[in-house]
């Protein structure tokens, strides 16, 4: 070994972007404080409802974006995991299967387990075929919810009554747009920081390598299926969190939560915001909801405005708005 080379390598950090956990946690805490300030300042229930919906959907988009970032595949069916979480709570409570607390825990576990088992079969399937399979699974869930009226209430949906307290918190917190906005934002911040940790961990680096070149990953000694399955399950878990929040906020669920158009909207948010940075889909969700609200005041064809934004982002900033902003940050790492 050449002594100078060895000495210079020892002086280097092992990873190209050293972890900045304190900074990440501080930024997350600051954003929660800002969210609390917004909730205190904004009096309009309508605006707060819009913001709460945006944050819950941002969690959904973050799950979809994490799958793209780590596995390099696009899901058109993540609404299935979102909807399964919603229906798990509603069906548990309506049928007296579990307490609200246990129903929430089950609502997180069931979609994650479904994604894990499904992943064992579908993560080996590349590209567009994977996307089509997720679409098929999602639509199968939607059709089941529509047709199985005895169980799901069909198109009419199902509503629930919640007790006065859940996990020691007043249920009214979950139904008020002002408090739910802060709760959802806090959970979103925890998720973003948590996923960032995962992405920066040895597991995150391995899944990035598998995404880059699966064959070579096998040739350096790794089984590649299980890491990809775990990423899918983790993204489904994140999406399930969004489903739980949606159900607690709306105390109602209908098959719309399983529809492909919800998966598509989450995907559009993830692409607008970009998936190279974990917080990109959150930014995309904020842009999406505000564009939808502003365009909705002008025209009923607000989807066309969203479409134009999507095209503009793809042309001008293919890495998404988050990716473009991250490039301005010195020493930022937006990939891998």
């Amino acid at each position: 070994m050449r002594p100078n080379d060895a000495a210079s390598v020892r002086a280097m950090p092992l990873r190209s972007a050293p972890a900045r956990p304190v900074v990440a946690a501080a930024v997350a805490a600051a954003t929660v404080a800002i969210a609390a300030l917004i909730a205190k300042t904004v009096q309009s229930e309508l605006v707060m409802t819009l913001l709460t919906q945006a944050v819950i959907t941002a969690i959904l988009a973050t799950g979809v974006g994490f799958l793209i970032r780590q596995n390099g595949v696009v899901s058109f069916g993540h609404a299935a995991f979102y909807g399964i979480a919603c229906y798990t709570i509603v069906l548990c409570l309506r049928n007296g299967i579990a307490s609200p607390e246990l129903a929430i825990v089950l609502a997180l576990i069931v979609p994650t387990a479904v994604a894990f088992l499904l992943g064992l079969v579908i993560v080996r399937i590349p590209g567009i075929a994977f996307s089509m399979l997720t679409l098929a699974v999602g639509q199968a869930c939607f059709e089941f919810a529509m047709k199985a009226r005895q169980v799901t209430g069909g198109e009419d949906g199902l509503s629930i009554n919640l007790p006065a307290q859940i996990f020691g918190m007043p249920t009214t917190w979950f139904q008020s747009a002002h408090s739910m906005f802060v709760i959802s934002w806090g959970i979103l911040a925890v998720i973003v920081v948590g996923l960032w940790y995962v992405a920066e961990s040895p597991f995150g680096l391995l899944t990035a390598a598998i995404r880059e070149n699966e064959e070579r990953a096998r040739f350096i000694g790794y089984a590649t299926t299980l890491p990809r399955v775990l990423v899918l399950a983790l993204s489904a878990f994140v999406v399930a969190v969004a489903g739980v929040l949606f159900t607690l906020y709306n105390i109602f669920v209908s098959p719309g939560v399983l529809h492909w158009s919800l998966s598509g909207s989450a995907l559009i948010m993830a692409i607008i915001g970009g998936t190279r940075v974990i917080w990109g889909p959150t930014l995309g969700a904020i842009v999406y909801f505000f564009a939808k609200d502003l365009a909705g005041d002008v025209t009923e064809h607000w989807q066309a405005i969203i479409g134009l934004i999507l095209i503009a982002v793809m042309l001008v900033a293919p890495a998404g708005l988050g990716g473009a902003l991250a490039k301005l940050w010195p020493g930022s790492k937006t990939d891998g």
Binding site: A6, V9, M12, S16, L205, A209, R216, G221, G336
Partner: protein, 236 residues
């Protein structure tokens, strides 16, 4: 046990429809040996490496590593047992930094010798560059570095000098010879550059039309008329 057989391919056959890429090929490589595999395009050299490394599917015969049958072992099982390979076309992780990808490879190895490998293959200066940003010659060395992490027992090299200049090829050959001798690595080297093959290989196997045409020391191979006619005569 210097003469123990490190790697054996026994009666290996692989066909595509009616075309035989390999037809009953046998190869036996002693521990610590550098074995060259040469032959014209389409002779079956890369297919043989694919079979030995576990990449190929639907073939018959068997592969033994230090006497143990590994025919049914997966790619990653073979790698963890100490059988590594590099590729004819650069096969790296383009958007990961050099050190990140070597670190990942080291985590799967018993000996995480990232610093050693980077120093030996002069990759240290570019440790924090993404693989896509370094030169082709550096990418070839990175490809080799990924295979050398953990000091494998057996190394299968599929044209490691492809696309390199004459000087780069010979430098690489001498680095390889030096490293494998110090670490006691057994090497199977598929290469078109005869200067590289004849300068570092102890024995050479010549493949032609999916079968073994000849096998012997470099001097012996140079004097086999069929080899000169089929291959060497037109390339050296």
């Amino acid at each position: 046990m210097a003469d123990a057989c490190a790697l054996e391919g026994i009666d290996i056959t692989r066909s595509f429809g009616g075309f035989f890429a390999l037809k009953g090929v046998g190869i036996s490589v002693a521990a610590g040996e550098i074995r060259g595999v040469i032959g014209p395009n389409g002779a079956g050299k890369s297919t043989l490496i694919d079979v030995l490394s576990g990449r190929a599917e639907r073939w018959t015969g068997s592969v033994r590593m230090f006497g143990k049958d590994i025919s049914a072992s997966s790619i990653q099982q073979r790698r963890r047992a100490g059988l590594a390979r590099s590729f004819q076309r650069t096969n790296i992780f383009p958007h990961l930094t050099v050190i990140d990808q070597l670190t990942i490879a080291a985590r799967a190895a018993e000996l995480p010798n990232v610093e050693e490998i980077m120093a030996e293959l002069t990759l240290t200066a570019m440790a924090h560059k993404r693989a896509a940003e370094i030169s082709y010659g550096d990418q070839r060395r990175l490809d080799l570095a990924l295979a050398l992490i953990g000091r494998p027992k057996i190394l299968l090299l599929d044209e490691p000098a492809a696309g390199l200049s004459i000087k780069e090829s010979l430098d690489l050959a001498h680095t390889l010879k030096d490293l494998t001798a110090r670490w006691g690595v057994t090497v199977v080297l598929v290469e078109h550059d005869m200067d590289v093959v004849f300068s570092i290989c102890g024995r050479i196997t010549v493949l032609h039309l999916g079968a073994v045409l000849a096998e012997g020391t470099p001097e012996e191979i140079r004097n086999v008329p069929d080899v000169v006619t089929a291959y060497l005569g037109s390339t050296t």
